[in-house]
Amino acid sequence: MIYRKKYLAVFFIAPAFLFLLVFVCYPFLMNIYNSFFEINVLGAPIGKWNHFENYRMLFKDPNMITSIKNTFLLMALVIIFQGGIALLLALLVDYIRRGAQLYRVIFFFPMVISAAALGLIFNLLYLYPDGPLNVIMTSLGFDPIIWKGEGNAFAAIAIPTIWSNVGFYFVIYVMGINNIPTDVMEAAQIDGAVGLKKTRYLTIPLLYNVLTTTFILMITGALRVFDMAWILLPNGQPGGSTYLTGTYMYQMTFINRNVDYGATIAVFIVILGILLSQLTNKIFKPKDY
C-alpha cells in the first residue's frame, strides 16, 4: 500500500534531491555561466562577456593540451596497471587456502592512508641526492637520479597514484570472484577446468560486469586525481609538464586567479567524464547471465 502513496516517496527523496540541486546542480550551472564572463578574483562580481574566449583558448593553451595528454595517459596506466595488478592479486588470493584474509588486509592497507600522507612519504623517498631511493642507487654504484626532474616527473606521480588505489579494486574483484556461484565452479572443475583454464574460461568472463564497472570508476577516478599530484609536484613542476586537468583547473582558479578560465576547464572535465563513461558503457555493455 505504501507504494501507492507517492507523496511519501517524494517526502523522503526531497531532502537528498534538494541537496543535489543546491550543492551540485546550481553550482555547476553557475560554473557554466561564469565561464562566459571575465572574473579575476573568486567571489568578485562577474565582469564583462568574454565572447567564448575561454573556450577558444582551451585548445590553444599548451598547458591545457599537456594536462589533457597527461590525464589520458594516466587513465590508460590506471586501467592497465591498477586494474591489472588488482585483478592479478585478487585471482592469486582466490587460489590460496590459508592466509587469504591477511593478504586482503595488506593489499587494502594503502587505501586507509590519506593521499596527502602518501604524497609526503613519496616526496621523502624521491629526495635528491640523498633520499632513500637515491641511497640505494648510489650503494649499487649508480648516480643519484632526480626522480621528480624532467623526463621522470610524470612517472613520479603515476606510480604512487596507481599503487595507492590498487587495494580498492582488489577488494571489488575479490568480492566479484566470491559472488561467482560455487556450483558453476564445481561443475567446471568436474569437466576439467582447473588452474589457468578456470581463470581464462570461467572467472574472468563471469567477472565481466564487475570489470566494466571498475573501468568506469578508474576512468572517472583518473579525471579526479588531484591531491597526490599536487603534493608531489605543485604548479605542474617541472615547467608545467605534469599538469593533469584537475591540477591545472586548480592552478588557474586558485593560484593564477583566472577564475573564468578555471570554470571553463571544470566544464570541460565534466563533459569529458560523461563522454568517457558513456563510451565505456557502450563498448563494454553489461551482460546478463
Binding site: N40, V41, L42, G43, A44, L127, Y128, P129, I146, K148, G149, E150, A153, L233, P234, N235, G236, Q237, P238, G239, G240, Q251, F254, I255, N256, R257, N258
Partner: protein, 438 residues
C-alpha cells in the same frame, strides 16, 4: 520513590533556569564581550610570528572582554586569493595584516576596508608615528592609504663567506667574481646558488631584473608586447646563462624552497638570494657544527651583468600593513578595539620589536632607533646593508603584477632555462595579459 525523583528533577530544572537567567543578566552588566577576527602573514616560522602573537596575547590581557580569533598563515598565492575571496563574500576578518601592491589594490577594490584618512577623522593620532615616506608608498589609486605598516624589508645575496675563503675566492662584488665563484664551486661539488626555480623563483628573478637593468628595470610596468623593456629580456637571458653555467642545484626545476634553504643553512650551497626573513633562520651559534652560523654569512647586492644598464641598487620596500575592515569600523562596539589593536601592533615599541629582533628589517617610524644587535652578526649586517644601499632601492616589479600574468612569468622560467621558451615568447605571454592594468 517516583515522586521524590520527579520533585528532584523539577528542582534541578528550576535551578538550571535560574542559573542561566542569572548569567544573562550578569553578562549585560559586564563589559561587552567582543570577538575580533584577525588574520596575518605571520604564520609558520616567520621570525615576526612570536612578536605578533605576544602583542595579541598582551592585548587580550589588557582587555579581558576581548577575544581574538586569529587565522594567520604563511603567505602564498592560495592564501592571498582566499583573503580577497573572504572580503568579496562578506567573510572578512576585522583586522588583517596583508600586502599592499596589486593584491592590496584588489583588497581595496572590494570596498570592504576603511582608509587611514577616514580613521584619522575620529582618531587623529592613528598611525601618527609612521613616516610620510612609508605612507606615500602605500597610497592607492584613489589617493588614500588603507594600511598601516610596521616593518619593511630588503633583499640581497646571502653569501657563505667561509666557503669563499675555503676555495680562495673573492666575494661576488662584480660579475667576473661571481662567474669565477660559480665555476669553482661547481667544479668542487658545492651548489653555487640555492634556488628552487620551479617553486619560489620570486626573489631571484627580481635580482635578474636588477642585474640587467638596475633599479629602473624594477620600475617598468609593461602592459603590451611593445612595452616589454629590453632589460627584462636580458634578465631572462642572464637567468639562462647562470643555469647553463651550473649555478643552480641539479633539481632546481623540481625541488622546493625549504630544501634549498636547508642546502644553504647546512653549508652545501654558497649563495642564497633572500631577504629580511632569512637571518632569523640562521643560528648565532651551532654546537653541532652542522649548520652555518650568522658570523659566516654576509649579505651584499647582486652584481650588475657586464651588459646591464641602469642604476645598481637593491630590492626593498614595505611589506604591507594592517587593514581594518569596513564592517568592524562601522560596528560601534568593535571600532575602538580594532583601532587600539592596530595601534598596539604599530606603536614605536612594537615596530622596534618587529624590525629589530631577528630580521634587520626596515622601520617606518623614524623615532625607532636601530637596535643594538652586535650579538647577532647577520642581523647587524642586514641593518648596515640597508643603510648603505637603500638610497637606490625599488620594490619588486612582480609584486605590482596581477596574479595571472605573474604566475605565467614564474611558471615559464623553468621553460626559459631548458630552452623550451625564449625570453621574448614568455614576456609576450605575460604582457598580453596586461599585468599592470588594474
Amino acid at each position: 520513590m517516583k515522586k521524590i525523583m520527579s520533585m528532584l528533577l523539577v528542582i534541578l530544572l528550576l535551578a538550571g533556569c535560574a542559573s542561566s537567567a542569572g548569567n544573562k543578566s550578569g553578562s549585560k552588566s559586564d563589559a561587552k564581550k567582543i570577538t575580533i577576527r584577525t588574520a596575518s602573514m605571520y604564520g609558520g616560522t616567520d621570525p615576526g610570528s612570536q612578536n605578533y602573537q605576544n602583542i595579541m596575547n598582551q592585548f587580550m590581557a589588557d582587555y579581558p572582554n576581548v577575544t581574538i580569533e586569529d587565522e594567520s598563515a604563511p603567505i602564498d598565492e592560495q592564501w592571498r586569493a582566499s583573503v580577497i575571496n573572504d572580503f568579496n563574500s562578506g567573510n572578512e576578518p576585522d583586522v588583517i595584516y596583508f600586502v599592499h601592491h596589486a593584491d592590496g589594490q584588489a583588497l581595496v577594490d572590494t570596498g570592504q576596508v576603511v582608509s587611514v584618512e577616514t580613521i584619522r577623522e575620529v582618531y587623529p593620532d592613528y598611525a601618527a608615528n609612521i613616516g610620510d615616506s612609508a605612507m606615500n608608498v602605500l597610497r592607492k589609486k584613489d589617493g588614500q592609504v588603507y594600511c598601516v605598516p610596521m616593518t619593511g624589508y630588503w633583499m640581497g645575496n646571502f653569501v657563505n663567506t667561509e666557503l669563499f675563503e675555503e676555495y680562495g675566492l673573492d666575494l661576488p662584488t662584480d660579475w667576473d667574481k661571481l662567474v669565477t665563484a660559480v665555476e669553482t664551486f661547481k667544479e668542487n661539488g658545492v651548489t653555487p646558488f640555492a634556488l628552487a626555480l620551479g617553486h619560489i623563483p620570486h626573489f631571484f628573478i627580481e635580482h635578474m631584473f636588477l642585474s640587467a637593468g638596475g633599479v629602473e628595470a624594477l620600475q617598468e610596468r609593461p602592459n603590451s608586447e611593445e612595452e616589454v623593456p629590453e632589460s627584462w629580456v636580458k634578465a631572462l637571458e642572464i637567468l639562462k646563462e647562470l643555469y647553463d653555467m651550473g649555478a643552480f642545484p641539479d633539481d632546481t626545476n623540481s625541488t622546493t624552497e625549504e630544501a634549498v634553504k636547508l642546502l644553504f643553512n647546512e653549508g652545501k650551497a654558497a649563495m642564497l638570494v633572500s631577504g629580511t626573513w632569512h637571518p632569523g633562520s640562521i643560528p648565532v651559534e651551532d654546537p653541532t657544527g652542522q649548520l652555518v652560523t650568522q658570523d659566516q654569512v654576509m649579505v651584499m647586492p647582486f652584481p650588475m651583468h657586464p651588459d646591464g644598464k641602469g642604476t645598481p641598487g637593491i630590492v626593498g620596500g614595505w611589506n604591507g600593513g594592517f587593514y581594518i575592515s569596513k564592517a568592524a569600523w562601522e560596528d560601534p562596539e568593535k571600532r575602538d578595539y580594532v583601532v587600539k589593536l592596530v595601534q598596539a601592533h604599530t606603536s614605536s615599541e612594537a615596530i622596534s620589536n618587529y624590525t629589530g629582533k631577528d630580521t634587520g628589517g626596515v622601520s617606518p617610524d623614524s623615532s625607532v632607533p636601530v637596535p643594538e644587535v652586535s650579538d647577532r652578526p647577520l642581523v647587524d649586517r642586514g641593518f648596515k646593508f640597508w643603510a648603505e644601499y637603500s638610497a637606490n632601492h625599488a620594490d619588486p616589479a612582480c609584486d605590482h603584477m596581477m596574479s595571472d600574468p605573474k604566475n605565467i612569468l614564474y611558471q615559464g622560467l623553468t621553460k626559459i632555462v631548458t630552452g623550451d621558451l625564449t625570453p621574448e615568447e614568455l614576456l609576450k605571454q605575460v604582457a598580453e595579459k596586461k599585468p599592470f592594468d588594474y
